[in-house]
């Protein structure tokens, strides 16, 4: 269904074989006695003062195309902001503000009341103030601190899922594409099943059935365990498990294409081992398709985690997640009185998801111009 734009085709991306004439480059050849001999255009032929025209590798060309895509670059900025915010933000936020006379705990500093898990029961459902920048939720917790904690959860889950997704996808996809045979058949049947099985349904089942067990099993693990985050490991696993067949299918397709290329044939005829062909020639050429597919998958992952938490299957209270913030704020008639509390996480989630899809689209257009619709 991809339409072919003639002028787009003229500049091949990484994903298409480079059929254009490659410019003359200086080649080095190691002679028998170990000295390096330079073969190439005579240096004196280039007139002094005239800069030789810089040639770009297909990869650099793709990067240039990406840089020219305003929407993708803005999205990239937004994404970087939302990654840095939950990492650096709390460190600063916990030092801003004076001491506060709590009705329950006496005099407390910003490190306490700007903690995402600390609630001041007499300061419920407030709007913006100097003390609570984005207001407070139904039990007097700082919404800004909770939002940053929720973003941290989203980003960690996305990272974990992508790592598993990429590793599994590349391994299975390359093996299936390169060797074919039973592993290819197995992958095809398995992806058929996984595509029929709505991904989220599988994640819901897995987290729903094994959730409480994961809570007790993982809650002792430092950093990820406490604060109701124990289930995130299970959530990530479930989301990665539903995501990787698609990645494997993309990788398989690309591998099949690469396998027919002349440079692979050349490598094979010169006696290169399969392992070396795969690691040196095939995997580096998968870079663009993996980047594009995983960027596009991240928005699905972030939605998945938020959705599972919204359904009560992800992060458990008192933890914070964007989905949990939405469900906390929309339950029990809260929506009528304090729509802000539900709009804040929804809008932030929307922005992140849109940013990742725009960046993914931009990357696809930049690295594979043929797929542009």
């Amino acid at each position: 269904m991809d339409t072919k734009d003639q002028d787009e085709l003229a500049s091949p991306g990484v994903m298409s074989p480079d059929t254009t004439l490659s410019p003359l480059t200086i080649e080095k050849e190691i002679t028998d006695n170990g000295t390096v001999q330079v073969i190439g255009p005579d240096q004196e032929q280039v007139p002094v003062g005239v800069k030789p025209k810089k040639t770009l590798t297909p990869f650099q060309e793709s990067l240039r195309r990406l840089r020219r895509d305003k929407r993708a670059m803005v999205s990239l900025g937004v994404i970087i902001f939302f990654i840095l915010l939950p990492i650096i933000g709390p460190l600063i936020y916990q030092h801003i503000g004076g001491t506060y006379n709590s009705a329950f705990q006496g005099s407390i500093g910003p490190a306490v009341y700007h903690n995402p898990f600390h609630g001041e029961l007499d300061r419920q459902d407030e709007l913006f103030s100097g003390q609570y920048w984005l207001g407070t939720d139904g039990i007097g917790r700082d919404l800004f601190a909770r939002l940053m904690q929720g973003l941290l959860v989203s980003i960690s889950v996305a990272l974990l899922v992508e790592v598993v997704d990429i590793l599994l996808g590349i391994t299975v996809g390359v093996l299936a594409g390169f060797y074919g045979g039973w592993i290819d058949q197995l992958l095809a049947r398995f992806t058929d099943i996984m595509f029929a099985f709505p991904g989220l349904l599988f994640a819901i089942l897995l987290t729903g059935i094994f959730g409480t067990q994961a809570d007790t099993a993982f809650s002792n693990i430092p950093i990820i365990g406490p604060n109701g985050n124990a289930r995130l490991l299970l959530v990530s696993l479930a989301l990665a498990f539903t995501a990787w067949p698609l990645m494997a299918r993309y990788v398989r397709g690309q591998t099949l294409q690469l396998k027919e290329q002349q440079f692979i044939e050349a490598a094979r005829t010169s006696g290169t081992s399969d392992l070396k062909i795969i690691t040196r020639h095939i995997i580096p050429n998968l870079f663009s398709i993996v980047v594009v597919a995983s960027t596009l998958n991240i928005s699905g992952t972030i939605i998945g985690e938020a959705g599972l938490s919204l359904l009560g299957l992800g992060v458990q209270p008192p933890g914070s997640s964007i989905g949990l913030m939405i469900s906390d704020a929309s339950s029990g008639g809260n929506l009528q009185v304090h729509p802000w509390e539900v709009l804040l996480p929804s809008i932030v989630l929307t922005i992140i998801v849109l940013a990742f899809s725009f960046l993914g689209d931009g990357l696809r257009d930049a690295f594979d111009p043929r797929s542009k619709d």
Binding site: D192, I193, A196, L201, G208, I209, A306, L311, I326, S330
Partner: protein, 321 residues
Amino acid sequence: MVQFLVKRFIGLIFVIIGVTFITFILGYFAPGDPIRELLGNHVTPQVYNNLKEAYGLNLPWYQQYWNFLSHLFRLDFGFSFHQQNYPVWNILRDGVPVSTELAFWALLIQLLVGIPVGIISALKANTWVDTVNMGTMLVLFALPSFVLAIFAQVLIVNLDNATSGSWPVAAAGNWNVGQYGWNEIQVKLAPILVFAAVGTALFARLARTSMLEVLRQDYVRTARAKGMRERSVVYRHAFRNAMIPLVTVFGLSIGLLVTGAFFIEQIFNIPGIGQQTITSINNRDYPVIQATTVLLAVAVVVGNLISDVLYSIVDPRIKAE
């Protein structure tokens, strides 16, 4: 054609076996002993063993799976663990019509809104109409359905305040299948629209791509060169051919509807099959979970099969393969 159908059908059976196997294994390894939970504190080993035998849980796993499968093919889903003596079949009977109605209207809106929007965009490609249309559709496509549902809820709350409380905020189980009085429309309108949104965007984007592709074909140019009216060119020549690839999206949109159902039904409090699945997961009611999962997965598989068959009908070239 027949060969193609047979091949697809064998694939379908294979997929269904895989799906039921995953569902069964998840239930089999699920933590907790359902019999013990069923009996509560009054356990004697005698009763326990009898009940375990009655449910067939003392058999090895492959025999349990075989029983599960053979019961499934007889549409015998057993009894709910949570609501004792209540057949799973009855639970499905309550939920399926609700979800089907929701999905039917959503699908109809997707087709009736999505395709025309895509066609108009293609005909006015690269004008402001196209930009606005496709911008909206891109946002609708990227938005998670539950965020859209929340936005709709906030809107309804405001509407409720503006009309001094005459617009119900959540369905609250008030879903009367097949009735379309003013009250029912108030309840059903928002969930259906939200439910339709993602698929509408999908259809619109693909309809635009497909139409643009067709408009570039030689036969369209020939038709124009013959001096045909633009209207006939668009409707008689381009439109029909542009619709062919959209048939394949049908299966995909069924999948979207199934996953969307969980959130829409949960947020709008609609007693459909999505909400039942979530409730039964929270209650660890495995027979219900297994039944709804298999049902939803089969819906997706059958949706894919239907779109494959339709594709081979509308595009005769596929028979050759």
